[in-house]
Symmetry: C2
Amino acid sequence: MQSEAELIDFIKNGYKTYFPQVTIDCVIFGYHDQQLKVLLARYPWINGWGLPGGFIKIEETLSQASVRILKERTSLDDIFLQQFHTFGDDEDRLAHWHLKYFPHDYKEMFGADNWLLKRTISIGYYALVEFSKVELTPDFFHDEFEWHNVTDLPELLFDHNEIIEKALATMRVQIYHQPIGYKLLADKFTLPEIHMLYETILNKKLDRRNFPNKLMALGILVKLEEKRKIGQHRAPFLYEFNKEKYEEALKKDVVIVF
Amino acid sequence: MQSEAELIDFIKNGYKTYFPQVTIDCVIFGYHDQQLKVLLARYPWINGWGLPGGFIKIEETLSQASVRILKERTSLDDIFLQQFHTFGDDEDRLAHWHLKYFPHDYKEMFGADNWLLKRTISIGYYALVEFSKVELTPDFFHDEFEWHNVTDLPELLFDHNEIIEKALATMRVQIYHQPIGYKLLADKFTLPEIHMLYETILNKKLDRRNFPNKLMALGILVKLEEKRKIGQHRAPFLYEFNKEKYEEALKKDVVIVF
């Protein structure tokens, strides 16, 4: 959606194209500068920040819709994307909650019966992306994007702070059962980098020696011959994941505890 | 809903009371005779078996709706109930899928625009109940109930077989992070009973000695003085969970691996 005419058409006629009263919100995590970050989008017509999201088309499955919405907003394709929770408990969500967020001129355009003014339920998906690969595509829904450290988020629109909290909590459980590590790191990384990533996600200190040893014993983590030069006297070895071993362990229900 | 008049009112006017095109389905697990069982309901007006479920009222949160639906169908209250996945990928769900399930006379009553004939999304909740405490309440939606072994299910209506599969897979992950054990067992149990429960849920063999030792080392499992007499020469000791220790371990992110 690139023009105001398209936006007005969406407001007036969107109900013919989209499933009513259900949205998808995407919590997109990236890891950069030893910080776990989440992608926020500015909603220009509401004048606030929230999660990138969208509506499901009538003929689309939920999976198709989540992949399309993520691709439209961030140009990302073929990434780790997982449904984690459906949100419909927030008080605001019950009381035609959108209304209070819209500026007056849109409200008049809407009319009291408009499809966008009804109570909505939102299906949350979280995505793990390699930070360097993201190319953002602003449009009329989201005219700016920013990465924020998950520990330092502003107050967001709707219940989006709560949605991010739940995504983080889910990831903290799923890190034991899903290939979360290799979705967030570059192909080759140093031990301090992976150590810091897991500490950040789990939000606790991990033993510096035990942590890599366990992953190496399972064959999941592999030391390379290659080093990365980061200073005159510092050139730590690089590591990579053995993705086959990683997937195999997960399939066998091996739970990796740190 | 007890009478056909109420059913007809629901078909004709339900859209005034309920959130459109979104349902809740409950996967209710109980443990009995060393088998993990799931509760199935007969849908008399469609003439098939499926999961107990219902619609969300317009003024209800999702949590309130799930508790109410479970209580209406099974008279169960204050139990472990957890949202696990929202279903909207099934091909049938896209194509006004309800229609093919209804007998002809209902179809005529509906009219082509009826609110019940549109594509629906279903939010899945799973519940863990102590088998002996369930009192079932048949009504016009579900006129019979049956417990089925999860490993031996008939072909169910809609995508309900898939929903049960996903609930089982979720429980297999969450057993490491949620107090699933003590929700399914009676207050006091023998070691073979809890051992069998975990083997059933995880669908794999667990070491007969290591398994209880780990739980006892964490203070989660407590041996009682009391015994249960099951034969002339057999009276195994009873055990119980220390629920405080159990909750504490879960809060601290202790992952219990067997």
